[in-house]
Symmetry: C2
Subunit: 258 residues, 2 copies
């Protein structure tokens, strides 16, 4: 009997090759598949679906504790996926996992997220892809997130994903026994209250930092941000088709040809 | 009788402050409103919805032919919108226009486009926003695109836009009389056939350029890329909600709580 081949799993993130969540995710995936890690050489949070044009990319082998761990790309998470598929991997992966991100990727964060960006690029290249985020910026414990990622990846490897769709998974930073369950959610309406900070440099010239705080505007468990605040894991199907299909007919009535 | 105030129009792009399409768009908008230009200090194509974290932003006044033209921001198109709304404009604009981009933003290009990114950021901030692109990389003639932009902006100022929705407008680079009309379209399925290029530097070390060619996978005029190739202007409603709503029920049947 021919032995069943282990799935090929490509692991990426946006926090960069040293991101703790990347190492937890890679270790978790190694229990079920043949893993290749390709990650940005530097932290590239907030890069959304950016790709690098006009500057060439460098690829390096990355060693940690004297052992080969993976490859770095001197670009964005999307660049990592493109370079991995075109130059690093000899065969198409069975699945791409991105993360585990440090900080939530709910609501409008979905658009800014490099973690989600990498997964969307995977789906554009027709490979099932999942983005994982831990909803905290402090005292992160990725243990349960890594375990849940493995469970979900096994399921997706068995049954696939809806066409043109990424799963964006947000996991609360709480002990496993406090997790209330899993909710399949929509991208929430919550958004950043902007609070850009102005400072003066040593010459008295101003510079600006982007800042802000995510305001909860969702009101039930059918939305990702509300669900994670209520200690649920939120699993959100995100499409590469950004068309507002409901609006097509309305706008056709505008008579733009007149 | 109180004089009706002219609309406040914020103009941005992703090709940077020197982009020819930005100057055509600004000139066109000045005929109908009070215009403020805030654009990246350098070309930032392919930046998608990226924002700048970890590096402060600089804002400069930009003069061309000895006349003040607008402001530059040392960041992405999304950064431009955030800084404009928080630090440059004293009042919220009535509309944001982005472009006119050099090159088409149809199909999956929507996700990579900084031009669309700026407009999406406007809609996140609850300001009606439109992205304009001329579908060529050579011999660009922005004349008719600027004229059509003004016509569409007038219409949107009158009647608004569907909630959470940008219009992404792609205009063929042909004389006005050859334009077949306007189609309200969905984001097409066309995508880049990747063709990343490997080169060696002077030390024999490889580097990589992202490259490729957009393959036509759309088959009728209800899709943006097909419509522009048939010499129509394509107007596509793009949502900041990326949820695949049709997939929610299916995934709920996966019993992820088991």
């Amino acid at each position: 009997m021919k032995q069943k081949q282990k799935p090929r799993i490509l692991v990426c993130n946006d926090d960069g090759i040293d991101g703790e969540g990347l190492h937890v995710l890679a270790a978790s995936m190694k229990k079920i598949g043949n893993v290749t890690v390709v990650a940005p050489s530097e932290p590239r949070s907030g890069m959304g679906h950016a790709m690098t044009l006009g500057i060439p990319l460098r690829v390096k082998r990355y060693t940690r504790n004297s052992r080969f761990f993976g490859y770095t790309v001197s670009g964005t998470p999307v660049d990592c996926i493109k370079v991995a598929l075109n130059h690093i991997l000899s065969e198409k992966p069975d699945i791409i996992v991105s993360g585990i991100n440090y900080g939530s990727n709910t609501a409008t964060n979905t658009l800014y997220s490099g973690t989600v960006g990498a997964a969307l690029e995977g789906v554009i290249q027709r490979i099932p892809s999942i983005a994982f985020s831990l909803t905290t910026y402090e005292n992160a414990d990725f243990t349960y997130a890594g375990k849940f990622a493995r469970k979900l990846v096994r399921k997706v490897l068995r049954q696939g994903l809806p066409a043109d769709t990424v799963l964006s998974v947000n996991i609360p930073n709480i002990p496993e026994q406090e997790i209330q369950g899993v909710k399949v959610t929509a991208q929430g309406k919550s958004r950043w209250a902007e609070n850009t900070i102005e400072r003066d440099d040593m010459y008295g010239n101003p510079y600006y930092w982007l800042s802000g705080k995510l305001q909860l505007l969702d009101d039930d468990l059918s939305y990702d941000e509300y669900a994670v605040r209520e200690n649920y894991i939120a699993v959100t199907p995100i499409s590469i088709d950004m068309t507002n299909h409901d609006a097509l007919q309305d706008i056709r009535c505008w008579k733009l040809n007149k």
